[in-house]
């Protein structure tokens, strides 16, 4: 049976919800609701920011920073015709079989007009996609991957 409106109101009344000896505590808290709320917000926010530190240590922030720095380096790549041609060569060697020689997609997706960052493209080439695309980290160094990124970015 659905509770009536009055029953809902009763359920939301701290004094009736916590009847008996705890009334004084509820009243005390209710009178200081603003201060308690601000305190709860500060403790929650401060706690979240504080817990970030041990998480950084536990999850190896140095490695994360190195990865981030590597991705940032790809963000500032400058496209030159030479680099595009170099990337096209690598693409033909390693990527065309799945993405199609014109990169319009075959087994793998169409790579024209990708709406992801250079860093993400580079990371995908480097690490692959589990179960879908192999990693090329052993085959290509950062310079070759940069050429591939520039080539893929040039596809419109």
């Amino acid at each position: 049976m659905q509770p009536s409106v009055d029953q809902w109101s009763d359920a939301r009344s701290p004094s009736s919800a916590l009847a008996g000896g705890r009334d004084w505590l509820v009243d005390w808290l209710a009178k200081r609701a603003l201060a308690v709320s601000v305190l709860a917000a500060m403790i929650s926010l401060g706690g979240a920011l504080l817990i970030a530190r041990p998480i950084q240590f536990a999850m190896g922030v140095a490695g994360a920073s190195a990865t981030q720095a590597a991705q940032d380096a790809f963000a500032t790549l400058v496209s030159t015709p030479q680099l595009v041609a170099e990337g096209a060569g690598f693409f033909g060697q390693s990527c065309g079989d799945c993405h199609g020689d014109d990169a319009r997609g075959d087994e793998g997706p169409d790579l024209h007009g990708l709406a992801i960052s250079n860093g993400r493209i580079a990371a995908t080439i480097k690490h692959g996609v589990k179960g879908e695309m192999p990693s090329f980290a052993r085959k290509y160094g950062d310079a070759q991957i940069a050429a591939l990124v520039v080539y893929v970015r040039s596809l419109r």
Binding site: A30, A41, L45
Partner: protein, 143 residues
């Protein structure tokens, strides 16, 4: 034993929509309840809905924030879309926890002035939550 590295993005995605939706729903319910054309019976129901949604929304932020911290390896600001996401997330988190606590403590005892201030902050918080969700979506699509 190694943990699947994609577990945190998955958990963050699974947990983060609840507080966003609940905060916006609380703003909607409590916002509607102040209009004059609303009957006393409907007003009580809207306030009850607003009460539960804001408290559940506040509780729901904790798993969302925790999974987000693990996902970013403890990075609380970041850059680009991540920075924008976090600039909305942290104030929204503090506000919704404060609002949920206040609403839980005050219940139906709020003065009209107190409720009006609560509602104004709740509307701002819902906006912050929506902004956090928007920039979170940008992270998925464009990062």
């Amino acid at each position: 034993m190694s943990i699947d590295p994609t577990i945190w993005p998955k958990l963050h995605g699974a947990s983060t929509h609840f507080p966003v939706a609940l905060a916006m729903a609380a703003a909607l319910f409590d916002g509607l309840s102040v209009f004059g054309f609303v009957s006393p019976s409907l007003r009580a129901r809207l306030r009850a809905a607003g009460y539960f949604t804001v408290i559940l929304g506040a509780l729901g932020t904790f798993p969302a924030v925790l999974s987000g911290l693990f996902m970013t390896k403890g990075n609380v600001l970041g850059h680009d879309a991540t920075l924008f996401h976090h600039l909305f997330v942290w104030p929204a988190f503090a506000c919704i926890v404060g609002l949920g606590t206040w609403r839980a403590l005050v219940g139906e005892r709020a003065t009209p002035r107190g409720f009006a201030i609560y509602l104004a902050v709740l509307l701002v918080t819902a906006g912050l939550m929506a902004g956090a969700g928007y920039w979170g979506g940008e992270l998925i699509l464009n990062s």
